[in-house]
Symmetry: C2
Subunit: 189 residues, 2 copies
């Protein structure tokens, strides 16, 4: 097998995984092409510079800059440092759990909190309205109906808060323990 073929097979193997990554990375609020960037950094032998990324992905350096920032915010890549190298260096963060938890918590905890706040305010307004003396029966009934609806949502948000806490407190790992990777042994044929 010549050099070219073996390189091609290596690329092919990597491509299979990267392609799938790009398909699902939007779950992390990250666009497909930035997902591909992640794959590129993942399989790079060494930490990469923005210029190397641009070279490898065929995209602009500007996009690499914004892409890497998005990946950093999701805890998917981290900045590294190497003596004598002036450019920023990036490599993937090996802790997939952290990335998942970061994104999951950031999204749902914020949504739960804000919705809950809005819900309470709406509830307060409705209750105030209902207590008005000379309220038409129709409006009063609708307000009561609204409160009923909202109490369903309220219960859910309470629950959702506890779920996000489960991840934030890392208690989830007591329930479903982290898997330790099995070190891939070099097997002989």
């Amino acid at each position: 097998m010549d050099m070219e073929e073996s390189r091609a097979r290596l690329e092919e193997a990597r491509e299979r995984f990267v392609h799938e990554l790009t398909n699902h990375i939007h779950l992390y609020d990250i666009s497909g092409s930035v997902g591909r960037l992640y794959g590129t950094i993942l399989f790079a032998e060494n930490p990469m510079t923005l210029d190397e990324m641009a070279e490898k992905t065929g995209m602009s350096k500007t996009s690499m800059s914004t892409g890497v920032r998005a990946l950093s915010e999701a805890n998917m890549v981290e900045k590294t440092w190497r003596k004598g190298v002036r450019k920023d260096l990036y490599q993937t963060d090996p802790d997939w759990y952290k990335a998942f938890a970061t994104v999951f918590i950031k999204r749902w905890a914020e949504a739960a909190e804000m919705n809950q706040r809005a819900l309470l305010e709406t509830k307060a307004k409705l209750e105030q309205l209902i207590q008005e003396e000379d309220l038409e029966k129709e409006v009063q009934e609708q307000a009561a109906h609204d409160l009923e609806k909202l109490s369903e949502a309220e219960a859910f948000y309470d629950w959702l808060n506890e779920v996000t806490n489960l991840f934030e407190s890392e208690a989830i790992y007591s329930i479903i323990p982290k898997r330790t990777k099995e070190s891939p042994l070099h097997r002989k044929a």
Copy 2:
């Protein structure tokens, strides 16, 4: 307080909540305007027809049709039936837990499964490559390095699978019980 004012205050109260909903509904892979549609249906006195929705939201009937479909797929609205009414009628599904679980599971379980499959195939290809007789040392080292990276991902996906199972099997509700809504009592002033 006249009729107009009380109606306005009702609308204002509802608007506060709906506005917040639209801000976070994208977590369910649903666009803002469809989120607003959800809010409209939520506070409607009765199940709504597509025409009523179009009227209320000021959008086209076509958008109502596609919007309602998206909401149905997320288990957020359900079709109803009323004697003598030929049009389709929709109302919100009161089970917020189900909507959350549906979306959470659909997204992450699919991602986990597909990524895991790609991962195993990539791993197989790399292992095959490594076992080639006359492989350049450099390629071999890179392939080994890749396998190392992938085993980290593999462990995570195993874990993620268990997490989605937690929701799918409803075991999550043993850990964090559903809250029962407190029936809003009509309080006197």
